[in-house]
């Protein structure tokens, strides 16, 4: 009742990286939205990302406010953000940058919400790294994984020096924090970093996996990727151009989406029965984000995809995946729908290198594949027996009923 669909961005004129339709508070009209858009980096005004049905709390995402050094304000922005809170409720603004970085952003016209102007909101800063830092981390990690010559000590120190797992831990922790605010503190959350197209999306999408069981199904995860990555305007073309083996330094290259998938894998590893899909599905998405015969991950946003007429000219990855033959490869045999919120552990002892991606070509996988097959065999045999028992029971019941009928005609 408090939210409405807005077609304000129908022709991508308000925000070129947003989809045509977004969800915004009912009490804010399109005119006000235009003003809010002008106050936000890249015009990415706050929109609804997730509604937590259990307690009615919500998660929004946006880009940074353009407060600049002289502390500009925008009363429509303040109105919009406050309109999302129910009376007497509080909210958290999770800024994915460290306080230091956020402060520095003011010099370039960016900034963060001053608490005096958003009195019901409390700001939390978390330091998720960006761009070339992530890219260098990936390059170092892949280098370490490919070098089989070094001894144990060197391997561990190279793994450490890559900082990859540090990034995983930081992103997961921030997502858990957002989920905790919503589910445990009963507070609403606004997430943003600078542009609101990278770390913001990592946090909002992971928080939904933690909170919402539907996101742990294949279809649910697909629509999560569509909503929170493709439609939300994560610039896949810029971020996923070269991967780890590029000689030329690409300014916009960064494994943001891969880090997200890695975090999903970490949760999957800790809750192996709670996901409908398996690791192969995540690896598939990783591969197709970088190179694909499908149009799904092409372009940087919906706007570009529309201009390129991709929906008309290319096939969708999803329609292929959801084809009955393919989908079996991605099903988790031991999936058991779990309606609960799942809280992953984020201690260093609880996180592991994602061997399925990073050691994929340098480790023998025969024994592991066999284990997977064995698991499927055990589950299938069980199902087969269940079906047989069911048939026999019915058969028996029919015969018995028939017998009784004959007795008492």
């Amino acid at each position: 009742d408090e939210w409405r669909l807005s077609c304000i961005n129908r022709d991508f004129s308000v925000c070129h990286s947003y989809p045509p339709v977004v969800i915004v508070p009912k009490s804010v009209n399109d005119e006000e939205l235009r003003k809010v858009a002008l106050f936000r980096h890249g015009n990415r005004f706050p929109v609804l990302s997730y509604y937590h049905r259990k307690n009615g709390m919500i998660m929004m995402r946006s880009s940074q406010p353009l407060t600049g050094t002289n502390g500009r304000r925008c009363k429509e922005d303040e109105k919009l953000i406050n309109a999302t809170l129910r009376p007497g409720k509080r909210g958290y603004i999770i800024d994915t940058r460290s306080l230091n970085v956020a402060q520095q952003a003011r010099a370039k016209g960016g900034g963060f919400e001053q608490e005096v102007h958003y009195p019901q909101w409390r700001r939390i800063h978390k330091g998720i790294e960006r761009f070339n830092i992530l890219q260098e981390s990936l390059i170092k990690l892949v280098e370490a994984c490919n070098d089989q010559s070094h001894n144990m000590d060197r391997w561990l120190s190279k793994l450490e020096a890559s900082n990859w797992l540090t990034h995983v831990k930081e992103i997961l922790t921030t997502a858990c924090l957002a989920a905790q605010c919503i589910d445990r503190e009963g507070a609403s959350v606004l997430v943003h970093g600078t542009e609101g197209t990278d770390s913001t999306l990592q946090v909002t999408s992971l928080a939904q996996i933690i909170l919402d069981p539907r996101c742990r199904t294949i279809r649910g995860f697909e629509s999560l990727v569509v909503r929170e990555w493709l439609q939300a305007g994560h610039p896949f073309q810029q971020r996923c151009a070269q991967s780890a083996y590029s000689n030329s330094k690409q300014k916009w290259e960064a494994p943001v989406f891969l880090l997200f998938l890695d975090c999903v894998w970490q949760i999957l590893r800790q809750f192996p029965c709670s996901f409908e899909f398996n690791e192969n599905f995540l690896i598939l998405l990783f591969e197709h984000a970088y190179a694909s015969q499908f149009g799904t991950f092409l372009g940087n946003n919906e706007n570009e995809r529309a201009k390129l007429k991709l929906p008309q000219k290319t096939m969708s990855l999803w329609s292929w995946v959801n084809g009955t033959e393919e989908i079996n490869r991605f099903l988790n045999p031991i999936y058991e729908a779990n309606s609960l919120v799942i809280w992953p552990a984020v201690a260093p002892q609880s996180l592991q290198l994602w061997a399925g991606v990073f050691l994929r070509w340098n480790r023998p996988s025969k024994y592991l594949d066999e284990a997977q097959e064995e698991m499927v065999r055990i589950i299938n045999y069980n199902k087969e027996l269940q079906a047989k028992v069911k048939v026999l029971r019915r058969h028996l019941a029919e015969l018995e009923a028939g017998g009784r009928m004959q007795e008492n005609p």
Partner: protein
């Protein structure tokens, strides 16, 4: 002592108030909490160190570190009480006589016959027969009948047939502690064998004809090969240093047809320090990823694990692929040699990868050949420099192998963890003393119980659901990644952070599959019953009406739920920022859940097996939540346990 607080390591705000009891055998902490009265039991023999820290305003902190990697932090209100407890525990944790150990008072209520049966479960004579000895090349030698030649060896030792008593005795005099070369594993397919001994007393130039003849005899016992490998598991530098003390290693020139090889596994002191360093990392409060990885690297622990594995792999390859016999030794031949021989045997022979076979392997390579359990694991008060996690490392090697080949072992991780626990617990007599001779003198088998019988009784809990005896991974030699694949060695949090449940995966694939298999078995049975009834019914269809067996109770189906919901629903401290938020609502269930992390399921279980640690069974308990109706709905526990979530479901 009352009003003692048990701290939770993961989060300082969660502490349980309760009463601390000291008994003759255990430290017991009973929580004040109204209904559950959670209890934490710690055997005195598990206590590794006790540290009294500086008194603070809240009381006197006492830190108890256990050999099974449990760490208990208590705060005792009165300094004097704390001191008394400290002094008592120091005494209790370091008994001076074997008779003080728990196994002499532990009574699982079995009669004499059952106890004897228990000890007979693992029979080494049978084991050597299984391997194929005695045969044309190998025989049992009786020179050590009364431990006359070597007091740390068993009475029954297998040696090459051509090795006469004279050669054996002569060779024993040329070996440290008279531990002469003896058979550890025999491969019947190609006659290659693994033998073990201690280092030769060669010094810089000494020779011993009998010892040379002994090695020659080992070679001859494998007619298919014209040399043997002699593997010295020490780093070369250590072995050379030993020469100055009149010990050392074999000179290839003096022995005919040996190939000598060093494999650098560090000594017990290095290993002790390495573990110490790694445990410090495990104990860090909220370490960063870098702290952790750097600390892990710096401890060198995984490097040592890999060195042991490499040695085992080298020997297994020599035996299986080259068909060459191997003589393994280190200094005394009871630590590194035991590790390496048992890893190699495990790789070579699928039998040792079964539950029973693994028990046999530990009895053979560790217990019977005089691994000094008492000294290494500090059962009695002794020289702290003798303590070292030698068998722990072997157990970890097995775990690493299990991770790399998930279908190859009949047992699961829980089995390994329980064995490790009992090596230190002194609850069973198996691992007492330093040698077979000492155990016989103490009449261990008449006065204590055997762990193997206990594990065997509960074997259903220890099964690996992925194991199938006709699977390719359970046939023949197991080839782990032989290329230098360091990244396959992982930190074992299930062992070293065993008691920090919050760190572990919240759902267990193993437990889930075990429950599925159990259900499958019930289905098979039901199918049979139904089939019979159907046949009967069809037979008597025409006339009689006697078939009215109402067996609707068959629907014993249970829903599977492996999620440890109580834990899964507790967020950790993801941010300190939240604490300062004034309107923080006390999140429900938090307090209740928090205590679980350390002491979950320590509600003194009826099974006295793992005094403090029945937590391992918790996974199984979770599985027992079967709804008798067999309805296809969600596990009812979920909604019941956490009212929060019930709302979520309804919504």
């Amino acid at each position: 002592v009352e009003n003692v607080r048990l701290l939770d390591r993961l989060s300082s705000r969660k502490a349980a108030l309760g009463t601390l009891y000291l008994t003759a055998t255990h430290v017991i902490f009973v929580e004040n909490g109204s209904e559950t009265r959670k209890e934490t039991w710690v055997l005195h023999s598990q206590i590794s160190s006790i540290e009294k820290q500086a008194t603070t305003a809240t009381g006197c902190p006492l830190l108890i570190r256990c050999k099974n990697f449990q760490v208990i932090q208590l705060i005792i209100p009165q300094e004097r009480d704390c001191h008394d407890i400290y002094i008592s525990l120091i005494r209790l944790a370091r008994p001076v006589k074997y008779e003080e150990l728990y196994c002499f008072s532990f009574n699982p209520k079995l009669d004499k016959e059952e106890r004897e049966q228990g000890w007979k479960l693992v029979n080494l004579t049978e084991e050597y027969n299984r391997m194929g000895v005695p045969n044309n090349y190998w025989q049992i030698c009786d020179v050590n009948r009364d431990y006359g030649v070597c007091d740390s060896y068993p009475t029954e030792v297998y040696v090459p047939k051509s090795a006469t008593a004279h050669i054996i005795v002569g060779s024993s005099k040329f070996r440290s502690r008279r531990r002469f070369p003896a058979l550890s594993y025999y491969c019947k397919d190609n006659n290659a064998s693994i033998c073990r001994s201690s280092q030769p007393l060669s010094g810089f130039s000494a020779r011993c004809l009998e010892d040379e003849q002994m090695l020659q005899a080992i070679r001859k016992a494998n007619p298919g090969s014209d040399f043997i490998y002699v593997v010295d598991t020490r780093p070369k530098l250590n072995a050379m240093a030993n020469r100055a003390a009149g010990k050392g290693y074999e000179n290839e020139d003096n022995y005919s047809n040996i190939k000598f090889q060093f494999i650098g596994i560090e000594n017990i002191h290095v290993m002790r320090n390495s573990l110490q360093k790694m445990l410090e990392v495990c104990e860090l409060k909220s370490p960063s990823m870098s702290d952790f990885l750097w600390g892990l690297e710096n401890s060198g622990w995984l490097k040592h694990i890999k060195a042991i594995m490499d040695a085992g792999i080298f020997i297994a390859k020599a035996v299986a692929e080259e068909g060459v016999s191997v003589l393994v030794h280190c200094s005394d031949g009871w630590d590194r040699t035991a590790q390496v021989c048992s890893v190699a045997s495990l790789l070579l022979d699928p039998y040792y990868r079964t539950m029973k076979g693994f028990m046999v392997l530990i009895e053979k390579d560790w217990v019977s050949f005089g691994h000094k359990f008492n000294h290494r694991y500090g059962n009695l008060d002794g020289d702290p420099k003798e303590i070292s996690p030698v068998i722990d490392q072997f157990i970890e090697c097995v775990w690493q192998l299990m991770e790399q080949s998930p279908c190859a072992f009949e047992f699961n991780e829980r089995f390994l963890i329980h064995i490790q626990h009992h090596i230190y617990s002194c609850q069973f007599g198996n691992f007492l003393c330093n040698s077979q001779k000492e155990r016989r003198e103490l009449k261990i088998q008449e006065r204590t119980y055997s762990l193997w019988a206990q594990l065997w009784k509960n074997r259903a809990d220890y099964l690996n659901p992925l194991y199938r005896s006709d699977h390719s991974q359970t046939q023949g030699t197991l080839y782990p990644q032989i290329a230098p694949c360091n990244f396959l060695y992982k930190f074992w949090s299930g062992m070293y952070n065993r008691f920090e449940k919050g760190l572990h995966p919240r759902q267990s694939v193993t437990d889930y599959l075990m429950a599925v298999k159990e259900e499958t078995q019930q289905l098979e049975e039901e199918l049979e019953v139904l089939g019979e009834r159907l046949a009967n019914l069809q037979k008597s269809q025409s006339g009689d009406n006697k078939v009215k067996s109402k067996q609707q109770d068959q629907s014993k189906h249970f829903r599977l739920s492996t999620s440890n919901n109580s834990l899964a629903n507790t967020p950790q401290d993801y941010s300190n920022d939240l604490k300062s938020f004034p309107s923080r609502s006390p999140s429900q269930g938090d307090e209740e859940d928090s205590a679980l992390i350390l002491t979950q399921d320590n509600l003194k279980s009826s099974d006295p097996d793992l005094s403090a640690n029945s937590d391992q069974e918790s996974g199984v308990e979770d599985l027992s939540c079967r709804s008798p109706s067999g309805g296809g709905c969600l596990p009812s526990e979920d909604s019941g346990k956490d009212s929060d979530e019930a709302v979520f479901l309804a919504g």
